[in-house]
Amino acid sequence: MAAKRKKELEGEEKPQENRISTFPDEVLERVLVFVKSHKDRSAVSLVCKDWYNAERWSRTHVFIGNCYSVSPEMVARRFPNIRSLTLKGKPRFYDFNLVPPEWGADIHSWLVIFALAYPFLEELRLKRMTVTDDSLEYLARSFPGFKALSLVSCDGFSTNGLASVASYCRNLTELDIQESGIDDLGGSWLSCFPDNFTSLEALNFANLHSEVNFDSLERLVARCKSLRVLKVNKHVTLEQLRRLLIRAPQLMELGTGSFSQDHKLRSDTELENAFSNCKNLHTISGLWVVSSLYLPALYPACSNLTFLNLSYAPLQSTELAKLLPSCPLLRRLWVLDTVEDKGLEAVGSSCRLLEELRVFPADPFDQEIMLEGGHSGVTESGFISVSEGCPNLHYVLYFCRQMTNVAVATVVRNCPNFTHFRLCIMNMCQPDYLTNEPMDEAFGAVVKSCTKLRRLAVSGLLTDCAFEYIGTYAKNLETLSVAFAGSSDRGMQCVLQGCPKLRKLEIRDSPFGNAALLSGLERYESMRSLWMSACKVTMSGCRLLAREMPRLNVEVIKEDEGDDIQAEKVYVYRSVAGPRRDAPPFVLTL
């Protein structure tokens, strides 16, 4: 189908201008098909007009990092043959309730344009977008060949929307609603997949609270022989999981349901057998409500495991220590801080190939734990243990309540290859707890040692010094997240001047004002976006920015009427689509 369409379109489109080379379009397009990365494709399109045209005709996938940077009409005009679209919407701080709910990023206007422009659209991958049930029904009915729907951290829809997708998308291969905030009206949507529907390859409904009909699920799994990803929700019991595994031994990614006491489970051996039949599992997640008694059933399935997501399973250190030796090939591990430093020591000794570690807090807000000066969670010593045992570590997300400069310096000395370093010392503005000094030297060490660093999130007590380090050394930095840090405008200025590859800068509650904001005047067009909330920026500063840089959208979120001077929340992003047409009343475009 695609090839035929392409020929028709090529016939219409013969460039008029003189050609630089006699390289025929058709050949160029065939070659360009192999260029997949959107960065490479953007580069290709800049070579010359011929290449720009060849590229736009041959592109099948578009990635749009900020849905407001371009309009759906513009996308449709430039790229006639899109089959797959990835769109990101709200600013990331939306996840932490810093952006009001009706902010925007609604997918519907995009769908309406695409229903006309891309009737053969196959894939839609959205992150932080608002999607309503009506939109889902519209999607399901408008695109007959639709295959893959992935909604990460989206909201606005309910299980009714899922029912539409299940009912009308005859060729569906993927339905993934991970971490989306959805209105859970019941599990009947799953039963809407027709009996003759067999194309499913990936299904993820782990975040749903309501129970789906297990018989429907079992039959669905049984008839979809290409199923390779299955992530169920907590209502699925161990015995039910066992039955699903028997039906789908070819699974590559499994999200279990509840992993605890189940009277219906006839014997633990049967469960183990079901797991050992799954020879292709490389990812395991879920493990809601996990009982250590049943964990050993997993061990036989772990021999090829590369990603283990235990971030919803509050394991203790001993349980983790017993599980890890069965996972010798582990590359990515997500855990809760219930495993404590001892658990991380086990990680260091068992997971030689580890590349990514994320430690999430089980109780980020527990007052009592903080009251008693508790030693719950992980500390700098666990961090060091992992770095000693895992030399390939390049991605870390670490939530802790105490840290020292020396510890971080040790970690990055052991692992100089970090590309993503996200450290969250949960107590705001906390200094090095041993020396009481700011944590400047810690992040200084990070940027000095880790020359490949692309993403950095800082925390703890930080002065401008930390940002001077970042500006001086972090030459590959693309994303920086700052909270409650810095002493003056100079901090932000250093970063804007010193980090040439910076694309996303998000700052909250830091003393950066207009001078800092305006020092980046010439930078923002080469960045995706800037977020500043509860800083010292004022409306006049924002207006000046907007006036000087017309190709930037400078938006101020104004939630309370009182203050006309302070710009509480500022979101600046480059756009070729002009100011938003769907901005709610509390978003002022300057």
Binding site: D95, F96, L98, V290, L371, G373, R490, P511, L544, Q566
Partner: protein
């Protein structure tokens, strides 16, 4: 554009408690802390400045910095604990150590844990476990165990200093082998009463238990012996 160093270096731009109090009264109260260079740079009049941030800690503590008018950031402030941070002056280290533990201020979106994740974990039936004399709390998920036996084994593993000692009258106690102190597992039920663990059928226990406490045997004499319970 290069920025000359700030000729008015203010190493501690954060306001102290008194400033904050005054700020609250006068909504538009302003305190210029900017240098003259900024006006040169941008040509703007910077007579307004500072959003005084009132970052937690301040010079002496957060308890005074309630309701700074930073509505978007603070939802409630209840005082300070170890959030007190050192100033850039080197001799302030002493102030941190003696802070009495007090509840921390809560701020919107901090720590940066997504609501989805918070909600997913909250719904577990976790109870806190406290051991007399130990400075920390743990949490256990009662639904993860089949019965009292497994719970005790888990507690033993968790507070690895204990071994289980069985008594002929079916009581079980956890013993610290180092000093021989016996601990009796007790729990607080829905009515707020402290009971001995093991009194009621397991399922009933799971439903009614709000928190666990490993109490020293010597102190547990206040709890009615099992036979005497209704």
């Amino acid at each position: 554009m290069s920025f000359p160093p700030n000729p008015n270096p203010n190493p501690n731009p954060r306001p102290n408690a008194r400033d904050i109090e005054e700020e609250r009264e006068t909504e538009m109260s302003i305190e210029t802390e900017r240098s003259s260079t900024e006006s040169e740079v941008s040509g703007l009049d910077y007579e307004e400045t500072a959003l005084t941030l009132g970052l937690p800690g301040g010079k002496r503590g957060f308890s005074e910095t309630v309701n700074l008018g930073i509505k978007s950031s603070l939802i409630e402030a209840r005082g300070d604990s170890s959030g007190d941070r050192s100033d850039e002056s080197p001799d302030c280290n002493a102030s941190v150590a003696e802070k009495p533990p007090a509840p921390k201020a809560r701020v919107v979106g901090w720590p940066p844990v997504r609501s989805y994740r918070k909600n997913a974990l909250k719904s577990c039936t976790f109870v806190k476990v406290q051991v007399d004399g130990a400075p920390y709390l743990r949490k256990v998920d009662l639904e993860a165990y089949r019965g009292y036996e497994q719970l005790l084994v888990a507690l033993q593993e968790m507070f690895s200093c204990f071994t289980i000692r069985n008594y002929p009258n079916e009581e079980r106690k956890l013993v610290d082998p180092v000093n021989g102190t016996e601990y009796v597992p007790t729990y607080e039920d829905k009515d707020g009463d402290w009971m001995l663990v093991g009194d009621v059928p397991w399922k009933m226990f799971v439903e009614s238990c709000k928190r666990l406490r490993l109490m020293k045997s010597s102190e547990a004499v206040n709890l009615a012996p099992r036979e005497a319970r209704r």
